[in-house]
Symmetry: C2
Subunit: 255 residues, 2 copies
């Protein structure tokens, strides 16, 4: 007996009108029943933010023919929560996919990324979850070379599942010449910020955040290495923040 089509929840952080989510929707429609719940405006860099001090709007919209699409005033994580508890009435989808993000979410960027935080929230809800991102932050980004990998990874996760409390962070290099897929760890890196100070017309200063990606991690098992060498990077992600290895040393402190 053939199992019915899997239900696939799609979210992102670039907003419901972003080309990246449209590419993801079309690819997922080939393998399942798609429901989209995405922010009504760009939410890049929102990390794991949720909206608690004000109410949320959630509207079913007619944007993409043949797709059930909801637009939400909140963050990517809000979208996942509203999708699960309101749109899906508590019934778990078979898969959550987030993206495809316009811009990389490798290495430390996972902490700042709304796309990845939405996938983390999916995993917290025990939904098999994958975040996808492409190394091109422009609205004109071409996702076509990513789609066969997106489909293959989604099918693999649907078939095999994922280890408990684990999700996938998948990043694509911006090249048609992809060498393959590498399972890796996130590279250890950080952003060194600079602030571009400007003066407004009322002579009050304001600051634009800019930054340089700083990495001294020369391992060949990292996502940064994989992407630089034209591989798709797949990092299994967990969300237990406990530094278990540090517990014994701290326990010896006297308080």
């Amino acid at each position: 007996m053939k199992k019915s089509k899997p239900t696939i929840l799609i979210v992102n952080d670039d907003g419901v009108t972003a080309p990246g989510i449209k590419a993801l929707m079309e690819t997922m429609a080939e393998i399942g029943k798609v429901i989209v719940v995405a922010p009504d405006s760009p939410q890049s860099g929102m990390g794991h933010a949720i909206t608690i001090g004000k109410p949320l709007r959630l509207d079913k919209i007619e944007l993409y023919e043949g797709f059930e699409t909801w637009s939400c005033s909140g963050t990517p994580v809000d979208c996942v929560k509203l999708a699960k508890y309101h749109v899906l009435k508590g019934i778990k989808p078979d898969l959550l996919v987030s993206g495809i993000n316009h811009g990389l979410n490798n290495s430390i960027n996972i902490l700042y990324s709304g796309t990845m935080s939405a996938a983390v929230e999916g995993a917290i809800e025990d939904i098999p979850s994958i975040g996808f991102s492409l190394d091109d932050f422009t609205l004109q980004a071409d996702f076509s070379h990513c789609l066969k990998y997106v489909k293959e990874l989604a099918l693999s996760v649907l078939e095999k599942g994922l280890p408990p409390a684990t999700l996938l962070n998948v990043n694509f290099p911006n090249t048609q010449d992809i060498k393959g897929v590498k399972v890796c760890r996130q590279a250890i890196a950080k952003w060194a910020e600079e602030f571009d100070e400007r003066m407004d017309p009322h002579r009050r200063p304001y600051y634009w955040m800019t930054g340089k990606f700083q990495m001294n991690d020369h391992g060949e098992d990292t996502d940064v290495w994989a992407l630089e060498h034209h591989y798709v990077s797949v990092v299994p992600v967990q969300f237990d923040m406990t530094a278990h290895h540090a517990i014994p040393a701290l326990t010896n402190w006297t308080f």
Copy 2:
């Protein structure tokens, strides 16, 4: 020769006027030179959000006599970045403390918490960092019973340092009768959301997020257990999201 006073950077997510940050400032002033860079409005639940689509405001304000205090329009993580790269001109403080948060940040709450994300950002910048939170979310919260532990922990971290890429998440029970300090792991738990649907005067629905804390983790080594038993919980925190244990299994997948 006596070492000069340590520089202590203070941030929070409840905003620069919150009683919790004032309590923390007064306690830290007993052991170091304090600089405060905090949001100009409440930023609870902002997680690791940063502001990238719009500029930031940062103003030196005369709010607390004797304290260098900066008010920032951004998120808690923005505050840390602006503090390090603009206020402190790239010079690392000896310690970063975040809080004292009005409300617990134990267990899974660390992911949603602006207070804790500010401390995580400090650790990313290689600054010894501690987040403090009290089990009372009201503006009338009484922090007095926390302060001797805040001071002792800050002094311990200044003296002994912390393991690399590790920070501390410290939560206080809301009782004068504290039994002691427990080093623990974060309890495995999640929030089950409900959305309170209401109708606005224009007959459009809006949704308030509410939630119930759901925990089936019965370990006696968790922060939830410690707090329920009137201990101060101290969880060492790391920020590598890689699920290292899952890499071998995934590597066997064929792509």
